[in-house]
C-alpha cells in the first residue's frame, strides 16, 4: 500500500503543474482523491475511473466485506470502513484518508441515503427516517469536509488545486412526490455547497454540487424498482462525466496567493 507522499521538492514550483504526457489536460495523475460510498453504484465507478486516470484513491463505505472485496479487485485503492452519518466515525475516516494518501486534493461526497424505503409521502415519513437521510446526505458531507479542510486548504496553497464535489440530484430542485426526505436533504446539500464555495473563494478550495443524472445503480433500483433500466445512464458513463467536470474545475483553479505581487 502506498503510504508515502512525494516530498515537496518534487512538486513543480509553478502553481499550475504541467500536465503529464499520457493525457493532455489530465490533472489527475498523482492527485489524492477520497470518495465516500465507494463500494457501489456511482462511487465504485468513480473509484475505477479515477484510478484509471492516474489518481491515488481512498474510498469509504460502511460494510467491511464490501470494502475488502473492492480492495482485492483494486489493490491500488485504499479502502476505509466507516459511516459518514456517524459523527464518531468522521475523524477516524479523516485520519485514514490523510494518513493513507499523505494529504488530500479532491473529496467526493457521494454516500447517500434515500430516507424511507420504499419511498414514502412526507406525511407518512417517520421523522427518524428523515433524520437519517439528513445525517448522511447533509451532516456527513459537512463534517467530513470540515475535518478535511485543513488538508484541502494546504493542497490549494501548494497550487495542487482543491475541489470538493457534493453529489446532488434533480430531486433537490424539482418536487417529486415521495422523494421528500431525500429531495429536501439534497436541496440542503446544494445550498450548503453554494454558500461554502463563496466563503472559501479566498482559500482556493472549490465546493461544487454535481447532479450525475438518473443512473442504473442499486440505489436507483431500490427507489424505483420497476424502472426501465435501458433508459438509465450506466454508472461508468456518469463517473466519466463527473471526472471530466472535476478535471475542468482543477484546471481552471485560480492562483491563490501572488507571492511576488
Amino acid at each position: 500500500m502506498k503510504s508515502n507522499h512525494e516530498s515537496t521538492d518534487s512538486i513543480p514550483f509553478s502553481p499550475v503543474p504541467a500536465p503529464p504526457d499520457r493525457h493532455p489536460g489530465n490533472p489527475f495523475v498523482g492527485l489524492r482523491v477520497a470518495i465516500t460510498g465507494g463500494t457501489s453504484g456511482l462511487g465504485l465507478a468513480l473509484v475505477r475511473e479515477l484510478l484509471n486516470r492516474g489518481a491515488r484513491v481512498a474510498f469509504v463505505a460502511r460494510r467491511r466485506d464490501r470494502v475488502e472485496q473492492v480492495g482485492h479487485e483494486l489493490p491500488d485503492a485504499h479502502g476505509i470502513v466507516g459511516d459518514v452519518s456517524r459523527k464518531e466515525d468522521i475523524h477516524p475516516i479523516t485520519m485514514q484518508i490523510v494518513g493513507g494518501l499523505g494529504g488530500l486534493d479532491v473529496l467526493i461526497n457521494n454516500a447517500s441515503d434515500l430516507g424511507p424505503m420504499p419511498l414514502k409521502l412526507l406525511a407518512d415519513t417517520e421523522c427518524e427516517e428523515f433524520e437519517r437521510a439528513v445525517a448522511t446526505n447533509v451532516f456527513g458531507p459537512f463534517r467530513l469536509t470540515k475535518a478535511l479542510l485543513g488538508s484541502l486548504s494546504a493542497s490549494a496553497r501548494e497550487g495542487r488545486g482543491a475541489v470538493v464535489i457534493n453529489v446532488s440530484s434533480d430531486a433537490a430542485l424539482n418536487a417529486y412526490a415521495r422523494w421528500g426526505a431525500y429531495g429536501a436533504s439534497k436541496a440542503a446539500l446544494l445550498q450548503l455547497s453554494r454558500i461554502w464555495d463563496e466563503e472559501l473563494s479566498h482559500e482556493g478550495v472549490r465546493i461544487l454540487s454535481i447532479d450525475p443524472g438518473d443512473m442504473d445503480t442499486p440505489m436507483h433500483a431500490a427507489a424505483v424498482p420497476d424502472a426501465d433500466r435501458s433508459t438509465l445512464k450506466p454508472a461508468e458513463v456518469a463517473a466519466c462525466e463527473l471526472g471530466d467536470a472535476v478535471a475542468a474545475a482543477l484546471l481552471r483553479r485560480p492562483i491563490v496567493q501572488e507571492v511576488f505581487a
Binding site: V98, G100, G150, A154, R157
Partner: protein, 340 residues
C-alpha cells in the same frame, strides 16, 4: 501581548487578528493530533499497559515509533504517579486492541522503547484511528474526543500532542488575513510529548521531531525576508522548525522535510521569527525555555505575574501570549540575509 520593548497589554482573543499587519507572514503548524495513547496488554506477563507514541523518524514512517510505556491506570492519575510497566525486553509482544506491536529495543530507559507495529499500513492506520485515544493529562478530568484535539486548520495526522497555539485560529481569521494582505502559510511539524512522568526522560524533551516546509510557505518567508515583513509563528513548533532550517542553511528557509534536533533557549539567536503566539506554558518546560529566546527572564517574570494576577488559564486549552522578539536582539543579530 508583549511588544519589542517589553510593554505588556491585555487583549480579548477576538482581537487577535488586529495584532497582525499587512505585509506580515503568519505561519501555523497544520499537524492534526494522532490519538497516540494505546491501551493494551504486555504479552509475556499479561499485565495491562498504556503505550504513548512519542516520536518517529519521518512524517511518512508508518510502522516504527518510539514510545513511553506506563503500567496500569490512565490519564486520570498524574503522570508522575503512574504505575511502572512490566519489564520490557526486545522481542516482547504488545497487544494493543486490534494492533500488534513488538518491542524492537529499549532506548536507554526501562520505559522508553522503539516499537514496530505488525500489519499493512492500511491496517495500522485503521488500528490507530479506531483504538487510539488522545494523550491527555490529569488536569483535564473528562476523556477527550479526537475532535477536541484538532485545531481548525488541522491537516496531516502526525502530531503526538496538539500544536495548541493553533486553537487560537479560526477560518474567519484566515479569511480576514487574506483580505488584509497578510500572508498565511503552514508547516507540518510532529509536535511531541510535553511530559513523560519521569524526570530522566523529561530532561530529554523535546525529542527529535520531523517537520515539513511546503514550497508556498518557503516562498512567503523568502518574500518577507526581502521586504523586511514580520514573520509571526503561531506556536513553539513553528519556531523550532523555521529556526532549525535557518540554522542549517545560514538564514535561508528552503522547502523540504527535515528532523528538528535542537533545543531553543535563552542563548539562541532567532534568525527568522520576529514574534510568537504561544500558550501560557509552565516555567521549566521546554516550551518555556524556547520563549526565553524571545525575551529576557525579567520580562518573562513580569508576564508570569500578569498572567496570575488576571487569572489566565495555563496548559494547552488555555489562553495565549503574543511575544515580539526583544528589540536588543533585533539590533545586534538581525542582519538581512539576501543572496548577492
Amino acid at each position: 501581548m508583549v511588544d519589542a520593548r517589553g510593554n505588556i497589554k491585555h487583549h480579548v482573543r477576538s482581537e487577535l487578528a488586529n495584532l497582525f499587519r499587512p505585509g506580515d507572514v503568519v505561519v501555523a503548524n497544520d499537524a492534526a493530533t494522532l490519538p497516540a495513547s494505546l491501551s493494551g496488554r504486555h504479552g509475556r506477563t499479561g499485565r495491562s499497559i498504556e503505550v504513548r507514541l512519542a516520536a518517529r523518524a519521518s512524517l511518512d514512517e508508518v510502522s516504527q515509533f518510539s514510545a513511553v510505556v506506563f503500567g496500569e491506570g490512565d490519564f486520570r492519575t498524574r503522570t508522575e504517579s503512574r504505575a511502572e510497566p512490566p519489564t520490557l525486553n526486545p522481542g516482547d509482544q504488545l497487544e494493543l486492541g486490534p494492533l500488534q506491536a513488538s518491542v524492537v529495543r529499549l532506548l536507554n530507559h526501562p520505559r522508553f522503547i522503539l516499537m514496530r507495529f505488525a500489519g499493512s499500513s492500511r491496517e495500522i492506520w485503521e488500528g490507530l484511528a479506531r483504538h487510539g485515544r488522545p494523550i491527555q493529562y490529569s488536569h483535564v478530568p473528562t476523556p477527550l474526543a479526537v475532535w477536541d484535539t484538532w485545531t481548525p486548520i488541522a491537516g496531516p495526522p502526525v502530531a503526538f500532542e496538539p500544536p495548541s497555539a493553533g486553537f487560537a485560529l479560526d477560518w474567519k481569521m484566515v479569511a480576514s488575513m487574506s483580505a488584509r494582505k497578510i500572508r498565511f502559510g503552514t508547516i507540518t511539524h510532529a509536535a511531541g510529548l510535553s511530559s513523560t512522568g519521569d524526570p530522566q526522560l523529561d530532561a530529554l524533551l523535546p525529542f527529535a521531531e520531523p517537520y515539513r516546509i511546503p514550497r508556498s510557505t518557503a516562498s512567503m518567508i523568502e518574500h518577507a525576508q526581502a521586504s523586511r515583513g514580520r514573520i509571526i509563528a503561531i506556536g513553539t513548533t513553528v519556531v523550532r522548525a523555521l529556526e532549525h532550517t535557518a540554522a542549517i542553511f545560514n538564514g535561508f528557509v528552503p522547502p523540504g522535510e527535515r528532523l528538528a534536533t535542537q533545543r531553543l533557549g535563552a542563548s539562541s539567536r532567532l534568525r527568522i521569527v520576529d514574534a510568537i503566539l504561544s500558550g501560557t506554558h509552565e516555567r521549566g518546560s521546554s516550551h518555556y525555555e524556547l520563549l526565553r529566546s524571545f525575551v529576557d527572564d525579567e520580562t518573562l517574570n513580569r508576564i508570569d505575574q500578569e498572567l496570575n494576577a488576571h487569572h489566565y488559564r495555563t496548559h494547552e486549552f488555555g489562553d495565549s501570549v503574543f511575544l515580539e522578539k526583544a528589540d536588543k536582539q533585533m539590533q545586534s543579530a538581525d542582519q538581512p540575509s539576501v543572496a548577492a
